[in-house]
């Protein structure tokens, strides 16, 4: 059942050709070095097609550990891409609601608010006005200085901060933002955002 659903995602088809279980992906994987994470096992599990095991994977933290650096794509001697398989597993986990059963999966709501809402508000995936050192202490005192003097600093650098027309950090026109919103509605992103908000509250 799950294999059929995964096969509807082209990333799954692209990512899993024939895994020989050599473990090269795990050897090169940055996530495997810092988490209890093994992309070889993920490829093996989906290749075996056992529904119970795939369901366990969809409900687990495991599929959320990948950093999507795609080092695995470069190295696999059989042209598999565990990173793509993980993308397909994550999408299915959200569709089935299984992401709510893992701590890492539940973080999707946080990401939707930190990245998704910013894209819809500004047309950028991050925006200087919304980043503060409370949530991002690694930004350091230089960021507080930048935030306190954003306009003056950006003027010196020749940026077009919040201005109309082209340039660094320009304000994106309403007509362009409308097109972005319509694309999000047409392609299911809005629906997914709504789902993450509604299910995240429950």
């Amino acid at each position: 059942m799950f294999t059929d659903k995964l096969k509807q995602d082209v990333r799954f088809i692209e990512g899993l050709k024939a895994c020989i279980n050599c473990g090269t992906c795990t050897a090169i994987c940055p996530a495997a070095q810092f988490y209890n994470y093994d992309p070889r096992q993920i490829a093996d599990t989906v290749q075996n097609g056992n529904d119970t095991e795939i369901e366990q994977l969809l409900k687990s933290d495991t599929i959320w550990y990948c950093g999507e650096c795609l080092s695995c794509k470069t190295r696999c001697p059989r042209d598999n891409t565990p990173g793509y398989i993980v993308q397909a597993l994550r999408s299915l986990s959200i569709k089935e609601g299984y992401y709510l059963l893992s701590e890492k999966g539940r973080q999707q709501l946080e990401i939707k608010r930190r990245v998704g809402d910013i894209m819809l508000k500004y047309g950028y995936c991050v925006y200087v006005d919304e980043i503060e050192t409370g949530y991002h202490p690694e930004q350091g005192p230089i960021w507080d200085w930048y935030r306190a003097n954003t306009e003056s600093i950006l003027k010196k650098l020749g940026a077009n901060y919040k201005g109309s027309g082209a340039g660094t950090l320009r304000k994106i026109d309403k007509a362009d933002m409308d097109e972005l919103h319509k694309i999000f509605e047409e392609t299911g992103a809005m629906e997914q955002f709504k789902k993450l908000e509604e299910e995240g509250h429950e």
């Binding site: 993308q87 690694e138 306190a148 003056s152 600093i153 950006l154 010196k156 940026a159």
Partner: protein
Amino acid sequence: MNDAGKKRYWKEYQKNIANDDYYYARSCIRQNFFPGSEETFLKILRETLGKNVFDDPHQTTCTGIAYHSSIVPQQTTMTVVARQFSLMNEAGYKNFIPSCVTSFGIYSEMMETWGHFPETMEKTKEHLKAATGRDFKLPENIVHTSDIIYKFRNIIAAKAKYKLINKATGKPLNVVDHIGCHYAKIFPEKGLGGAEYPVVLSGMIETWGGKVVDYPERRHCCGFGFRQYIVKENRGYSLSNSKKKFDSMEPYKPDFIVANCPGCSYFMDRWQYTIAEMEGKTYDENGYGIPVLTYEEMAGLVLGFDPWKMGMQLHQVSVEPLLDKMGIVYAPADKYKDVNGKDLGKPLQPNNLKCY
């Protein structure tokens, strides 16, 4: 490095880079964290190289960060990418140059997927038409912006005011290059030199007088990891990966790091500050850390641009030790002044990391 191997790989990985008339696709991360770098790039292309670049106000995020964090469906990203191409078509350009390595990977991946699964292209066309009324054609040439600087590195060298050489000793500076995972790891044939022997940054460094540091974790990820950085609780992943690289490069005493990807530049700058504050550890001998430059900043310094007009005061790791090594003439007091010379006050000093 094994030069014979390098030459063999290089033969296979020739890449076509358009000569002029570029459609510039800006980077969200670069604009926010290195806001002087994109203006520096445009200045180099237009004023130093005499090229035509179109900077389109209508473009938006490519959604790359959201896509790799699994909050938007693939069709959303495909359709936004198609809209960017449609804007390029409308402006009359064929050479698409993204400023962000994540975006470069996104554009390349979507185009590859459309090629392997034509039904996804048809779906994207339908979505774009329904949402915006637009059609689109693919670019004839798509390269990362750093590829352009690489292509014209010799012209830049001929016009250079400074070299990547220690003025006091006359020796080449030791430079760590970091090309960013999505530049060549997803599609090695799309990166100059492939994933094994990428030359996009090392070519610039060597042409401009520096020496490239070949250290064990040279190809390791900076640790962005998308959701691994965005969510505060996951950020140890990101920090640990950068630390692995710093620990590995430290014995080679790099004079600076240059990165291709705006995210990597940001992480390698800020994680040095974080490690200094958490553990009291810095990766240079004097407690300032290793300066981290964008490739635009590196090119700009070589050409004699004012570091404070390129935004280098926004790095947490001070760049002055590098400026001094290169013998660059700059005004230290202008660092924290606005465009009219008004003093903006100084940022607070970190507890452990020394700053100018």
